[in-house]
Structures are given as C-alpha cells and as structure tokens.
C-alpha cells in the first residue's frame, strides 16, 4: 500500500508498504530516517519515540497505514521543531503585549553554550537546547536510547518548563537507558530547563 504523511515538516510518500509494517520501519528503512531506534518493538523501551500530531508515541506500535495524512516529528527534525517553537513563543510574547524578553535570546544562549564546550555542536546546523544539554551533561554514552529520550524530554519541557525531579522521572519513565544510570540524563534535562528559563 501507499502511505502519505508529513515528516519533520516535509510531505513524504512511501510505496509498496507491507500492511504489517510499523511507522518505525517506514521511517528507518523507506524514508532514510534511521534516527528513531529499534530496540524492542514492543513499546517497552521508548527508543523509537516520535511525535505523532504533537504527541509522543512509540513508532514501533503505530501501523504505517495509521499515519496517512498525519504529522510526524522525529529526532532528525527536533532542532527545527525547537527553533520554530522558540520563534512562535517570541511572537506570542509580543502579541500578548508583554515587553520583549530582556535577557539573552535563546539564540544567544545557544551560542554561549557552544563556546563553552569542546564539542562540535553548532558546526553546520544548530542543535535544539535539549540536544546540546545531553552532550554537555555527558548524558550520551552508547547513544542508542538518546533519540527517543530527546523527543520525550523536549516534549515535556514544552509543556512543563520548570519540572521537578519527580516530574522528569515520570515523563521519561517510558525510555530505557542501559549505559548511564540516568543521572546524567537528569542533569541534562535540568540543564536544558535552566537554559530555557534563562532564555525567556
């Protein structure tokens, strides 16, 4: 069968899709977007987390045919997504008649982060704040869980910009990590939240 949907803002068409294929398979094997990871195929690890019409879901449990006409954001589109959100948030602030943020802009904050680190972040495309925070905090080891965690964490910060530790743990409880013991992931989310707070 054929499936048409939007991925990271671009219309996509997948042909000859087997009816039992998952969204994850279509993303990885047909659309060249292997960032979403296949680690369990049963919704128990969160490595394949994407946003489907804005909502975080396990793409391994979405039948390809179910995404017809819908909108998907993957880790590959996370930086763009965050950028657009930042622009939208700025517009919102202005349209509400509030004074423009007096602190450094998100973009400025990001530049500062890049300067303060030894990583190659920022070379080429900019990263979303949560992506940069994962690098800076040492939250990445093997990195296989990272894309799913980033999508889930970014979505949480969108709704809850000042999460408590318990909030972070609850929001990320569907994402398994085997390398880090989660401590550096907690650090990364706290860091992203703090930077996000500074930037507003």
């Amino acid at each position: 069968m054929r499936v048409n949907f939007t991925v990271n803002g671009r219309p996509q068409e997948a042909d000859d899709v087997w009816e039992g294929e998952s969204l994850l398979y279509v993303l990885r094997e047909r659309l060249g977007l292997p960032g979403s990871k296949n680690a369990c195929e049963q919704g128990e690890c969160g490595s394949c987390t994407v946003r489907l019409d804005g909502v975080p879901v396990c793409s391994c449990l979405v039948a390809a045919g179910q995404v017809e006409g819908r909108d998907v954001v993957t880790v590959e589109g996370l930086a763009d997504h965050a950028r657009q959100r930042a622009v939208r948030d700025r517009c919102k602030t202005v349209s509400h008649g509030a004074p423009a943020a007096s602190g450094p802009s998100l973009d400025e904050a990001r530049v500062r982060q890049a300067e303060g680190s030894d990583s190659q972040a920022g070379e080429g495309g900019e990263l979303a704040p949560i992506q940069q925070a994962f690098i800076d905090a040492g939250a990445v080891q093997c990195g296989f869980c990272t894309p799913g965690l980033l999508v889930a964490a970014d979505e949480m910060l969108e709704h809850n910009p000042t999460p408590t530790d318990a909030d972070i743990r609850e929001a990320l409880s569907g994402n398994l990590c085997r390398c880090t013991g989660y401590e550096k992931i907690m650090d990364a989310v706290r860091l992203a939240a703090a930077r996000q707070g500074e930037a507003v």
């Binding site: 919704g43 128990e44 409880s173």
Partner: protein, 296 residues
C-alpha cells in the same frame, strides 16, 4: 494482509461485517506487538484511528460515555473527578508513550486478565457499548469477560464506547509490578465506595483467568458497614472488618504461577491492596463527610 481504513463508524461496522476476522487496531499497543513478533498475521487489519467519535467522551448525569479510543493520558487529565478509579488505573498503564495511544477499548477487546483498566471498570460499574451492522447493545461489565483473553463480543461487533458510572464516592486503584514504572501487573485491585447505594464494589486483575469481582468480600463489607451504621457515623473501620474483607478478596483470586509472580504471592498481594485501598477510600469518605458537615 489487508489494511482497511474506514473513515467513519458506519464504514467500520460494514467492514467488520464483511470481514469478521478483521483485527481492529486503534492504539496498536497490543496488536502491533503481536505483528512485530510474528505471533499474529491477521488477514485484515481494521484501522479505527480515523473514526473520530471514538476519541470523544461525554459526561452525563449518571455516567460518562467514554469513547473506546480515548487515550489513557486524556482520561488521567480530564476525568479524574468523574472516574477517579479509572484515572488512577490509567496512570499505571505502561509508559507515557503508551498512555498517549492506548485506550479502554483495546483493553476490553484484548480482555487480558492483566489489562489495567478492568479492575477499575468492575469496581465503578460499567457497560460496554458494542455495535454491529445488526444493531447496538450494552453489555454489563460483569458479563463481558468470558474467559482467558475472551470476551462477549460477537465476531462482527466492535466496541464503540464504555459507559462508566460517575463516582458517587471515593475510588482507589493499586497495581503490583516488580518495577516502579512500565510494568505489566503481577496483580491489581480496584475499589469503589458507592455511598448512594451504600455498597462497595471491587475489581481484581491478573489473579484469575479473567478480571473478577470479589463478590463475597463485597457482600461481607456491605453488611458489616450497614450493621454498625458506618455509612452514617463515619467511624474508622475496625481492623477485624478490614482484615476479613482483605482475606475474602484474596480468597476470590484463582491465580497461577508464572514468570511475573507466584499464585500465593498474588493472593497475598491482593489482600494487602484490598486492605489499603479500603483504608484510603474510607478515610477519604470520612473526610468528605466531615467537610460537608462542617460546611452545613
């Protein structure tokens, strides 16, 4: 395999009538696992994602009509007051990602004894709205579970909604798993106080071939509460009554040993959960009573 994509409820019913072996898929959280792991190769997959009214709910006088596909995360966020037991149960479902996709219709359709919603539905009191091209009917929740992973649906029927009685008193839900999140129930327990009818209802998950109520325990507690005027005097339930209730709930189990837990542990844990949820709901009932008295 064929993928059927009905655009409306009527089309879905027609498709199910034409292909009674078609497997409905909504959140996909059960069906896709079976497909991914080669446990199931249905001839037809019947996608219900495009049937919009399955995602809606309506709060009526007596009950909430809950669309079969309303995700657990929506139930947690929006129906905490009307359906506290189900909202608590929803919060124990798997992970945030799964709660964003899965709904009560899937739990009912699969009818696994481990489905998280069942004990809450049994305790609250509910009816399953099933429909086929032949017509619509309401199946009382007590008559819905007919065997291990079997339910009362006819081959051409689909679940459209669940009508759950609005809470008229405190409700609680507990589930034992060997992990603090993302875990399938070793066993689960739901309890609802119904002050209007002066009854209690229970639901037990994963401790019998089907989800069950602990009817003897309910009858015992109904009588004990009535006898000593507890509903009116709002006294603390005596430990011996609580213990007897817990023991009867444990006795209502007919569990098995499996990789998730032993039968005797399940029986034991159901008893503990029964005692604790009784204490929580009763304290809450007493608190509400005191508050309303104070207000009057």
């Amino acid at each position: 395999m064929d993928f059927l994509r009905p655009a409306s409820w009527e089309e879905a019913l027609a498709a199910k009538a034409e292909h009674p072996t078609a497997v409905p898929i909504a959140g996909g959280t059960d069906v896709m696992v079976e497909i991914n792991f080669d446990h199931r190769r249905p001839e037809y997959l019947l996608d219900l994602n495009r049937v919009g009214d399955l995602y809606e709910w309506e709060v009526g006088e007596e009950a909430v009509r809950l669309g079969a596909s309303v995700p657990y995360s929506r139930i947690m966020e929006n129906l905490r007051a009307e359906l506290p037991g189900l909202a608590l149960a929803s919060h124990t479902v798997a992970s945030p990602q799964i709660r964003n996709r899965g709904g009560v219709g899937g739990n009912l359709g699969t009818a696994s004894p481990a489905g998280d919603a069942h004990p809450a539905l049994l305790a609250a009191g509910a009816e399953v709205e099933a429909e086929s091209v032949r017509g619509s009917r309401r199946i009382p929740i007590d008559a819905f579970y007919t065997g291990v992973k079997r339910n009362a649906l006819a081959p051409d029927e689909l679940i459209r909604a669940v009508h759950v009685k609005k809470a008229d008193g405190p409700q609680q839900y507990s589930k034992v798993g060997t992990r603090n999140a993302m875990v399938i129930a070793v066993c689960a327990f739901g309890l609802a106080l119904h002050p209007e009818t002066r009854t209690v209802r229970t639901g037990i998950g994963s401790a019998a071939p089907t989800p069950v109520r602990a009817r003897t325990a309910e009858e015992f507690l109904d009588a004990a509460l009535e006898e000593d005027g507890f509903w009116d005097n709002g006294k603390v339930i005596t430990p011996s009554v609580a213990k007897q209730f817990a023991d009867l709930c444990a006795a209502a189990c007919n569990p098995i040993d499996d990789v998730r837990g032993t039968a005797s542990y399940r029986r034991h844990a159901v008893g503990v959960m029964a005692r604790r949820t009784l204490s929580w709901t009763w304290e809450s009932y007493r608190g509400a009573r005191r508050a309303s008295k104070g207000a009057a």
